[in-house]
Symmetry: C2
């Protein structure tokens, strides 16, 4: 299973909206297709949409239609702007696009064909580095996982949310590889059920024991002593350690604290947005009410009912036991520890 791959000048994406029932790939040959795929969650997860957007930028700039370096750069900025608008919360998207444009602006080449080659190489670098990053997160993170741990995770911060391996699930994979015999509880993650559809599927493929629960069962599971720790990914982390992640994460963090359980966040340092002092400044995407009112195309609520459908929430740093990054584990106060890791 591959979340995405580059093949014959095409970005091949696993359509995650079809999982787990269908394993279907889509073939993106221009950046509009990539933007559509990001917007409609065919590819999702903060690191994965960063990588996909990087490739999307390559697809969006047709070197043959640009006769000068200036034209090429203008077109690249235009395409990057369009891709950056697809989703607002995950910072990895704008981080990857910024990195691509920076590389381009610093390249001395003037030939559009050569510039395109530089862009593609940078996209490949982002892809490969994301894989390496996840494996490093796994190595650091698994040291925090006791043998036999029963791990609750939310949404999907796995191979499907990244170039591969995963952040939160990367830690689970690494702990398993270290022989720790961990097991996973996957909360289904309404409205789009990434936990039910994607996390369980990844765990079954790896033969890591997994149990599916509805989101509202986590508290009762903790009260029964059924969970040893919580680990989730992140879409954006403010400079002070406040974490934006899939809606429902904050509730789990409050519950973890109430039950005396560690609450870990696993994320690459590219997820940290040092330009934001605290989590209240992170833009939170609100999505279509139909995601809540319809299931499998069928209405489950009275027509016209008002809906609030935020895709993310913010967990304050004080509820986060540690942030696991590719350069090591950050502990509070995060203002210092995250900055130190980024040096």
């Amino acid at each position: 299973m591959e979340t995405m791959r580059w093949e014959s000048d095409t970005l091949v994406l696993l359509d995650q909206t079809r999982l787990p029932l269908e394993l279907k790939y889509i073939y993106c040959r221009d950046h509009h297709q990539v933007a559509e795929a990001i917007r409609n969650l065919r590819v999702r997860g903060a690191p994965a949409i960063g990588v996909a957007a990087a490739y999307g930028l390559v697809l969006g700039v047709d070197a043959a239609r640009c006769s000068t370096r200036r034209e090429f750069l203008e077109r690249a900025r235009e395409v990057a702007g369009e891709l950056a608008l697809t989703r607002p919360t995950a910072v990895n998207l704008s981080w990857a696009l910024r990195r691509m444009l920076d590389r381009l602006e610093n390249a001395p080449e003037s030939d559009p064909g050569a510039l395109r080659g530089i862009l593609l190489a940078e996209a490949h670098a982002i892809f490969v580095e994301d894989l390496e990053t996840n494996r490093a997160i796994g190595r650091f993170g698994q040291e925090l996982i006791p043998s036999g741990a029963r791990i609750l995770t939310h949404c999907n911060a796995g191979a499907l949310a990244t170039a591969g391996y995963g952040t939160a699930l990367g830690v689970v994979r690494a702990a398993t590889a270290a022989g720790k015999k961990v097991s996973v509880f996957a909360s289904e993650t309404r409205p789009l059920l990434q936990g039910a559809r994607l996390t369980t599927w990844e765990m079954l493929q790896e033969k890591i024991p997994v149990t599916l629960i509805a989101d509202n069962m986590a508290a009762s599971l903790m009260a029964r002593g059924g969970v040893d720790l919580v680990i989730v990914g992140a879409d954006r982390i403010a400079a002070n350690g406040d974490v934006a992640n899939k809606i429902g994460t904050y509730g789990l963090a409050v519950l973890a604290e109430a039950h005396g359980l560690p609450f870990y966040v696993a994320a690459p340092l590219s997820t940290v947005d040092f330009s934001l002092a605290e989590g209240g400044q992170i833009p939170i995407e609100e999505r279509d009410p139909a995601e809540v009112t319809h299931l499998a195309g069928r209405s489950v609520a009275p027509p016209g009912v008002r809906v609030w459908n935020p895709a993310f929430d913010v967990t304050p740093a004080r509820l986060v036991t540690a942030v696991i990054t590719e350069r090591g584990v950050a502990y509070p106060p995060y203002g210092e520890s995250l900055a130190r890791l980024c040096k």
Copy 2:
């Protein structure tokens, strides 16, 4: 809209599994049909299944086939036993059946036809008293509701969960009738979506402002200051005030405490089980994994994935601000206050 009615020796039940898209009634002419309707949640809500079971007992005892009082009583006990087994958690079910059998055992009549008349009268009494009880709960409860309050409720503790009017939603109705301009947030209540399907529908019918959220959005809503109080129903309350209610209730109670919000339980005194010292003794029903893995008949999880699907959880008394009953509001310590109200 009627949750149920007795008509021509038939118990007519609104099939709540079809709501809100279809308004379909089912006609129960024997107790097997009533048992099926309770088991499959066509009628649900602790008070409602108590009333339905009482009528089910009437339907199950065919006076014409009993020639003696003894035969009639034996048959009644047999039918009551069968109905009592349909669902384990709500105590109102066994409470109503016990009350029916007590009435029968204390009746001096020997004619089976007369005994059946006594049973039917008792079922009618339970029905009418439930309505009165709910209105009284509403009156006491609405005094706790500030004008303009934004009220979060879980599952459906409304007219549909009772003979009519509702417990938690009865309080909302009474506050509205008192001119308090309250609004409601309904958490959808996975897996069977009673909040999305039933609570929103009741509120829309009453023109009480209602907003639907997924269960995992409640924490974020509270953090934003969007909720003033939480009010839920109950399926069984232990003598010490521990409350069994729909799965997800306990999590909301923890969240309410973390955000400094009152957490109210509205329930008739018939929900209090004085035979159980504390909530850990309340049997918690676990239901079919397919309720979690399938939505609208379609699979949303990999085949064969393990599922934990408890239908209820237990909220410890220390998280309950007050229990609103038909005889007044009980405050901690509940061991004393609930016992006092029952005297």
